[in-house]
Amino acid sequence: MKFFTEENAELAQEIIGRYPKPRSAMIPLLHLAQEQEGWVTDEAMTEIAELVGTTSAEVLGTCSFYEMFKRKPVGKYVINICTTMSCALMGAGDLMKHAESRLGVKSGGSTPDGLFTLEGAECQAACTEAPCLQVNYRHQYRVTPDQFDQLVEDLASSDSDIPEHGVLSQIRQHIPADKFVGSTPPEDVVSAPVWLSEAGGQ
């Protein structure tokens, strides 16, 4: 039984083909696995290991380094409240307390209905719009307690553009075959690119 769906398996091959070395596709493939299941399963890591030519232990090693990869199920919506300095100065602590009480979970916990996971998070590059948060890595800015409640209501009734956890970019890069220069393993490239050598080299 393969982990990736047929469509995602094809996509995986396309992604691997863009890199001079297949292992570089490991993080993109972990994202693809998380998009498919909402979290990264052991089966996914085993299959990714085969696809990029390494062991599942190596995949776990990489996977476990990165905050976004969840190795157990999380809510449909992961709410990350920024708690770093700019947001902390502008009321992130109160927002977090409010969120914990509204959702009935502590930071790090998930609601029993599987809808929400609440996390304290680090600087989200929206520091001028504090306090900010992200839902599945989409920002909300200058969030008041009332707006937080409205957000939770909207998400619970699916009244939002935000896709479920695991889905990052909803637009994929596709390189047309006739335009693709191609990824050559570095050891097979021995000379300067043609536009540079014609100009006399550097």
Binding site: Y66, A88, A125, S169
Partner: protein
């Protein structure tokens, strides 16, 4: 995507225009600033066309002459960095650092979301000039909208013949591959970024020998440039290096983007003139932040991202010029200014940063892995009123295991404290460890009385809680 009635995903806010010439933010006012149609209608890809009419060496010289300082944090001139690739070692790669995550920093995400084609054009110019045969555009994992905007822009630019084989009918051929991370601050460090791009845990490499320009991605010469740095290139190629150096100062030409957050009236992202704009202009100028909220007193500010030693009102008249800011004890870093007014609990503010760096330690170097956590735990008990007088010295002792010797800090004339110039010595491979210490050290040096008040009369050590039933 159809707009639904409930909570939408908002357009990235924050940019506030002022009277500065707009080099990298020139399209931000358009609703469709991120589309190819808008880009082409506003001089888009003209810099690339001009570049292709010159030799790669001429393009490289143009960028070198512009003295374009890297906008990621280190401030090293891009044209000089490009020259560090060893001759006749092929292939060479370009890695774009779009992993913006330094606390307080908010500019690269705006550039990626609002003007992705400008970044793409910059990548193409760099690849052409230095003979880089493939470009990897690494965007921070937590930026879904930036990933979407850049993906669409890449697809459109490929279709229009700006990327890929025989660009605009020339011999120049290069792919740009979109890649994104998965949440790790340290990956913003260039050698960690390369490790991550190779599919590994994002742990920095030791320099030397692993300077990316000589031994980078797959062991090959690799240029790592920041998003804002590359976004300047189309303008420089189109208007020439002389037009660029006519703005700002000789050593810090052009403009730069800065984000001001915290206790100001108009927090925002501003494009300012490099080298001459002062912190006072920025924080109090009527076309910029307009002063401190509620007309409160300014207590302190972080001048260059969470890693930077702090400044007080005494440093307000310093300009955005490294040769001025460095000797005064800090750095300009990533253009992130975090402002604290008189109501700020200084030890608690320092804790918000130290916990960040302690959490983000990759674990490779012991002084950072252990020291960062120690700093956080000691500072936390001080903030929570469980600390002792001894803890204040202990914080410095732990910090000195990461950064031996005098740590840089600002002068406080009113207290007779003189500045210690930037940079610091360090026992770690990268700056994450020292960054955990920087806020603690600044806060303790500049506002020691606030710490003393929190530990007042408490000379007994606090026993560390031992968890038994977990």
């Amino acid at each position: 995507m159809t707009q639904m009635a409930g909570t939408p995903i908002p357009h990235a806010p924050g940019f506030i225009a002022n009277t500065t010439p707009r080099i990298v933010t020139s399209r931000f006012d358009y609703e469709d600033s991120y589309t190819l149609a808008r880009y082409e209608a506003t001089d888009g890809y003209q810099g690339l066309k001009k570049a292709l009419q010159q030799t790669p060496e001429e393009v490289h010289n143009e960028v070198r002459d512009a003295t374009l300082l890297g906008r990621g944090g280190a401030g090293f001139p891009a044209g000089v960095k490009w020259g560090f690739c060893p001759p006749e070692v092929w292939p060479r790669y370009l890695v774009v650092n779009g992993d913006e995550s330094e606390p307080g920093t908010y500019k690269d995400r705006l550039l990626m979301e609002l003007d992705p084609h400008q970044l793409i054009e910059g990548c193409l110019i760099a690849c052409y000039a230095v003979g880089l045969s493939q470009c990897f555009l690494y965007i921070r994992g937590e930026m879904a909208v930036a990933q979407e905007r850049v993906a669409q822009a890449l697809n459109d630019a490929y279709a229009a013949g700006y990327i890929g084989k025989n660009i605009l009918g020339s011999e120049f051929s290069v792919d740009i591959v979109l890649h994104w991370g998965a949440g790790a601050y340290v990956v913003g460090e260039e050698t960690a970024l390369i490790e991550s791009l190779e599919g590994n845990r994002g742990m920095p490499r030791l320099k030397p020998p692993y300077f990316p320009a000589s031994i980078g991605l797959y062991g090959q010469p690799t240029i790592v440039n920041n998003v804002e740095t590359l976004s300047n290139l189309p303008w420089i190629l189109e208007h020439g290096s002389q037009a660029f150096t006519a703005i700002g100062t000789e050593t810090s030409p052009g403009t730069r983007m800065v984000a001001v957050s915290g206790h100001v009236k108009r927090p925002g992202v501003y494009e300012i003139i490099n080298g001459t704009t002062t912190f006072r202009d920025l924080l109090y100028g009527t076309d910029m932040c307009g002063g401190i909220r509620n007309d409160n007193q300014l207590k302190a500010f972080v001048p260059g991202g969470g890693s930077a030693p702090w400044f007080t009102p005494e440093q307000l008249d310093l300009p955005f010029e490294a040769s001025h800011v460095g000797p005064q004890g800090s750095m300009l870093g990533s253009g992130a200014i975090m402002v604290m007014d008189e109501t700020t609990d200084i030890p608690a503010a320092a804790l918000t940063l130290t916990k960040f760096y302690a959490h983000e330690s990759c674990g490779k170097c012991v002084p950072c892995r252990e020291g960062g956590t120690w700093l956080e735990q000691i500072l936390r008990r001080v903030v929570e009123g469980r600390g002792t007088n001894r803890d204040l010295d202990l914080l410095i002792e732990v910090g000195e295991t990461i950064c031996p010797g005098d740590f840089p800090h600002a002068a406080v004339a009113s207290k007779g404290i003189e500045a210690v110039p930037f940079p610091y010595r360090m026992t770690t491979i990268c700056f994450v460890g020292p960054s955990a210490f920087a806020p603690v050290h600044s806060a303790l040096t500049l506002f020691r009385e606030e710490f003393e008040a929190k530990v007042s009369g408490n000379d007994e050590p606090t026993m560390i809680e031992v968890a038994v039933d977990v």
